[in-house]
């Protein structure tokens, strides 16, 4: 018997299928996303950590936490670059994850997330004071709302090659921006190895540019969220960067990605970079002889002896308004994560630093060698930074010592004010790197470039003021 599928059959099948999908689709989707009966589900969205070992610890930790609390936990790791767009889609859709962890302050999402004042107060009660710039990265002083909960951050020190700096008579590396200019220029001239500060549209350049501005006593805003960029000190900082480019850098820095300075250091072609210790950790695994030569310096000081570094990463978790039904378990999880921050530090190979240094250490087997006398995270932190547990055999163990007080010279985007949405947009659209680069490339005079950047910043501030997320000029 011959059978064939006629046009009419196709039309019928397709028509029935389309109608069926239209009617049944939403029901099916609802079923997939519905809470399983009897057991609640907590959904967490965060980046794939730069240190893969952290995720290998974090995921089982969360699962175990879920089992202990009779909660299903789903963790989704996505690329850092997809985090904002993914959460924006969830906000519009009105459904998605219960906790979203950002690595920069998500202050522009304030209208769509829950006020976490109670969580932050409870964390202070349990763990003591929070690092001030962690608060400035999760609290809006104008609306008096905690839009996030900051549990940790990452140091952004100077990483320098000791053998090179020794040869030019500065074995302990630079301590001021002037040192960097003078000695890195000599290293480039005499030893043929360049400096590694970026001048591109990427994250590390953004941080380096801000560190330079703050160390020169200027910045994009003051403590009361007024734009102050257009001033003599900014012009000096911009001229300094152009000079630094001329004497210590090469044109490649205009095309860098966030990984470029790491690559340059590991390739043995950079005398100094501004980056987290992950660059050093990568070198320990890939090129041990380079790693053994890498040492660290704190924030470089400017002409007035002030030195600031931008936090490299700041972990801020938010709970969206659409996840209000699960807010209680989400808050409980975040408190428990903070209580376990010794493991977060250890498993991230000291990449993550705590926002609450006075957190009491939990008893029992913690998965790392006990440190005698350590009662709080601060004790552990001080011990590990004086005796790096991840140092290679034969490598100096006290290399991280200069970073032990990093919270005193690290600060947030928007320093000395809060990390408001205007600062976020200025950061995200690379206004500061462009300001420096235009002058280094001889496209503009320093004064003109600063004026242009300042005008762009003012426009952005005015827009966010109109949205009510930044206070009126003070």
């Amino acid at each position: 018997m011959t059978s064939y599928f006629s046009r009419r059959d196709f039309m019928k099948t397709a028509g029935i299928g389309t109608v069926g999908l239209a009617l049944g689709g939403p029901a099916f989707i609802n079923k997939v996303f519905a809470q399983p009966s009897g057991r609640r589900t907590l959904r967490i969205l965060q980046w794939s950590h730069f240190v893969p070992r952290y995720d290998r610890w974090f995921d089982p930790f969360v699962k175990k936490w879920g089992e202990e609390h009779n909660i299903n936990v789903i963790i989704n790791h996505i690329s850092l670059s997809d985090l904002r767009s993914t959460f924006a889609s969830e906000v519009v859709a009105g459904r998605g994850h219960d906790i979203v962890e950002f690595i920069d302050p998500p202050s522009d999402f304030e209208p769509s997330v829950l006020d976490l004042t109670d969580l932050n107060q409870e964390a202070r009660r349990r763990f003591g004071a929070q690092v001030p710039f962690a608060t400035r990265s999760s609290y809006n002083p104008d609306t008096k709302k905690y839009y996030g909960f900051c549990h940790g951050w990452t140091i952004d020190p100077g990483d320098y090659r000791k053998s090179l700096w020794q040869k030019v008579g500065k074995p302990d590396g630079p301590r001021t921006w002037e040192d960097l200019l003078v000695y890195a220029a000599r290293i480039k001239r005499e030893l043929g190895v360049q400096n590694g500060i970026g001048l591109s549209q990427e994250l590390d350049t953004n941080m380096a540019g801000r560190a330079l501005l703050w160390s020169f006593g200027t910045g994009t805003q003051d403590g009361r969220e007024n734009v102050i960029l257009d001033n003599r000190k900014t012009v000096e900082a911009v001229k300094f960067m152009a000079n630094l480019y001329d004497q210590t850098l090469t044109p490649e820095v205009f095309g860098w990605t966030p990984a470029s300075n790491n690559q340059l250091l590991i390739a043995g072609r950079a005398s100094y970079i501004l980056n987290s210790i992950s660059a050093y950790r990568s070198a320990q695994k890939d090129v041990p002889e380079i790693a053994k030569d890498i040492y660290f310096s704190p924030a470089l000081k400017g002409p007035d002896g002030i030195g600031w570094a931008c936090e490299h990463v700041i972990y801020v978790s938010v709970i969206p308004k659409f996840a209000a039904a699960n807010a209680d378990i989400a808050k409980q999880f975040l408190l428990d994560l903070s209580a376990n921050y010794d493991r977060a530090m250890w498993e991230s190979e000291l990449y993550a630093s705590p926002a609450f240094f006075n957190t009491p250490l939990l008893s029992g087997d913690r998965g790392y060698p006990r440190v005698s006398g350590a009662k709080k995270l601060r004790d552990l932190y001080s011990h590990w930074f004086a005796n790096d547990p991840y140092a290679l055999p034969g490598e100096a163990r006290g290399k991280l010592l200069p970073l032990r007080d990093a919270e005193t010279w690290s600060t947030n985007v928007g320093h000395p004010g809060p990390a408001n949405p205007a600062e976020g947009e200025i950061f995200g659209t690379f206004i500061i790197p462009n300001m420096f680069a235009r002058v280094a490339q001889r496209q503009q005079r320093a004064e003109e470039s600063v004026k242009q950047a300042s005008a762009e910043c003012r426009k952005i501030f005015d827009k966010w003021r109109a949205k009510g997320l930044i206070g009126q000029r003070g």
Binding site: D108, S200, F254, L264
Partner: protein, 306 residues
């Protein structure tokens, strides 16, 4: 048998056949387009689903923004240089590939590869080729004695820094985009060349017409409609594409040497959070592309009529 009767009506069948397309267009083109327009006249941000209508401020700001003007110029450079190269190179390749030679199938296969590979993967490959430290292109140039020592043709620096120098960065972005578009253009042009009646070409050859006379007086006029379609496809692909630019340069070197409108819209709306400004920039595509489509289709129609 009432159902069968219904499906026998031509008007109903036509309606049923068109319905999925109409639904698709309404859902995935019409709705986003209307939303883009609404966002562009609002103060929408990505962090807040609520917004109010603010009029044409975003368009005013857009035209006053130096980054927009630079990106607009870059978009035209990126689009038209890419397309000119694609058409010229595509035509040369098509002329070669309509001839018989040993291993023709493998050449055609290799030619199609860039089109079959995901563009993001291909571009990441080029990102490595053009790396500021490890570029194999630079290694070859150094080995050839063209780069890396005083007096070398391309300079004494160890690397060319493909993605860090404004002119070279734009050339790199165009190069990768041409690599991506060339297979499609070539295949379309092969189809066009194969459609030319052999007797016309042979008659011209008998009359003593050389290659260039045949090219300009027979081949190009006859495949002009095909070239028109290729240009149209390529313009649409290029004008609205940000993959190559974003992966290779993210719009840099600073300030915006390779920034195009699509990447600027992404930068402003997603990176910067200003959804309204991003929507205003992306809406700028509509009249420009509609104008280009109208001109090209009119020229094609004219050529067909002639």
């Amino acid at each position: 048998m009432r159902n069968g009767h219904l499906f026998q009506r031509d008007s109903l069948t036509a309606f049923a056949l068109l319905l999925p397309v109409c639904l698709y267009l309404a859902a995935f083109i019409g709705f986003p387009f209307v939303m883009s327009f609404i966002y562009s006249i609002s103060n929408a941000t990505i962090g807040d689903p609520h917004y109010s209508i603010t009029g044409l401020n975003n368009f005013r700001d857009m035209f006053h923004d130096a980054a927009f003007r630079t990106s607009l110029a870059n978009t035209f450079i990126f689009t038209f240089v890419s397309i000119a190269l694609v058409i010229v190179l595509g035509h040369i390749l098509a002329e070669l590939l309509i001839r018989d030679f040993p291993g023709k199938w493998i050449v055609r296969f290799l030619l199609m590869l860039p089109w079959t590979a995901p563009i993001a993967l291909g571009t990441i490959g080029f990102l490595w080729f053009m790396d500021s430290v490890y570029s194999p292109f630079d290694w070859l140039l150094r080995k050839a004695g063209l780069l890396g020592s005083p007096g070398d043709l391309l300079g004494p620096m160890s690397n060319l820094y493909w993605l860090a120098r404004p002119g070279l960065a734009m050339a790199s972005v165009i190069l990768v985009h041409v690599w991506r578009l060339l297979p499609l253009a070539t295949v379309i042009l092969i189809a066009g060349l194969n459609a030319i009646p052999r007797e016309i070409v042979e008659a011209a050859q008998i009359d003593g017409a050389g290659y260039f006379r045949r090219l300009f007086h027979i081949t190009l006029p006859l495949i002009f409609p095909v070239i028109g379609v290729t240009v149209l496809f390529s313009v649409f692909f290029t004008f609205t594409d940000m993959t190559v630019v974003w992966i290779l340069t993210r719009g840099g070197p600073p300030p915006h040497a390779t920034q195009v409108l699509a990447s600027l819209a992404f930068l402003k709306s997603i990176q910067g959070g200003d959804l309204a400004q991003g929507a205003a920039i992306s809406l700028f595509f509509f009249p420009v592309l509609a104008g280009i489509a109208a001109i090209v289709l009119r020229l094609v129609k004219k050529a067909v009529v002639i």
